[in-house]
Amino acid sequence: MSKHIVKMYNRLDAQINKSPSTNSTKSTGLIPQRKEPEEESDIIHYVKQIRKMRENNNGLK
């Protein structure tokens, strides 16, 4: 089970550390293409929030 937790945590960590794509997609036609905002899963959202909280705490020290 520990192995599964490690795998899950590492995968999630890699997903969070991946640089977010801020560049807008180039439109080739008359109608600009819009990229739908990627929906984050609940767990990623929670982890991000906790990490942000930790960074704030470390910044206060």
Binding site: S2, V6, M8, Y9, L12, D42, Y46, V47
Partner: protein, 164 residues
């Protein structure tokens, strides 16, 4: 006395889990918490318990990685019938992060336990101990030097002396 090879009588008898009534154990019942949100909110009050946090910090300070601790917590809750194993696995990263938060806030060095270690080379002392355990009989290797003595008979092969 080496106790590693002695049989343990504390272990359950094979098939013992099948002797009880179906559904009599908490983990055989439908889980109480079904969503990941519910599972996470079940664990958060634990981190407000001073006794739990102190014990957790002691474990971390002793060098126990976080992931095995989380593993035990999840398995315990599954055994209690709180949530399924899958839901616990999904909630694990959040619990790990909460534990990291506590460790950093307390200024304790921690190990997550997610780094896979490479092949560890055995030390020389370990090798020597292992070799002692083998108790190999020492083979006496005799090097037999065969020296050809020059034959002195009449039918002896002619050698270099004769210049042939």
């Amino acid at each position: 006395m080496d106790l590693s090879n002695t049989p343990s009588f504390d272990a359950p008898i094979p098939g013992q889990s099948l002797t009880g009534e179906v559904g009599s154990k908490p983990w055989e019942q439908p889980p109480k918490l079904t969503t990941v949100d519910e599972v996470i909110s079940n664990y958060i009050p634990m981190f407000e318990d001073e006794e739990f946090v102190t014990e957790l910090l002691n474990q971390m300070e002793a060098g126990i990685p976080i992931i095995p601790i989380v593993n035990i917590l999840i398995k315990y809750s599954v055994m209690d019938g709180d949530h399924s194993l899958d839901a616990g696995l999904l909630a694990a990263p959040v619990i790990i992060e909460l534990m990291i938060n506590i460790a950093e806030a307390s200024g304790i060095k921690y190990d997550i336990g997610n780094k896979t270690k490479g092949k560890v080379k055995p030390s020389m002392s370990a090798i020597s101990i292992a070799l002692k355990d083998l108790d190999l009989p020492e083979e006496e290797t005799e090097i037999v030097m065969e020296i050809e003595e020059p034959s002195m008979g009449l039918m002896a092969k002619r050698g270099e002396e004769d210049g042939v």
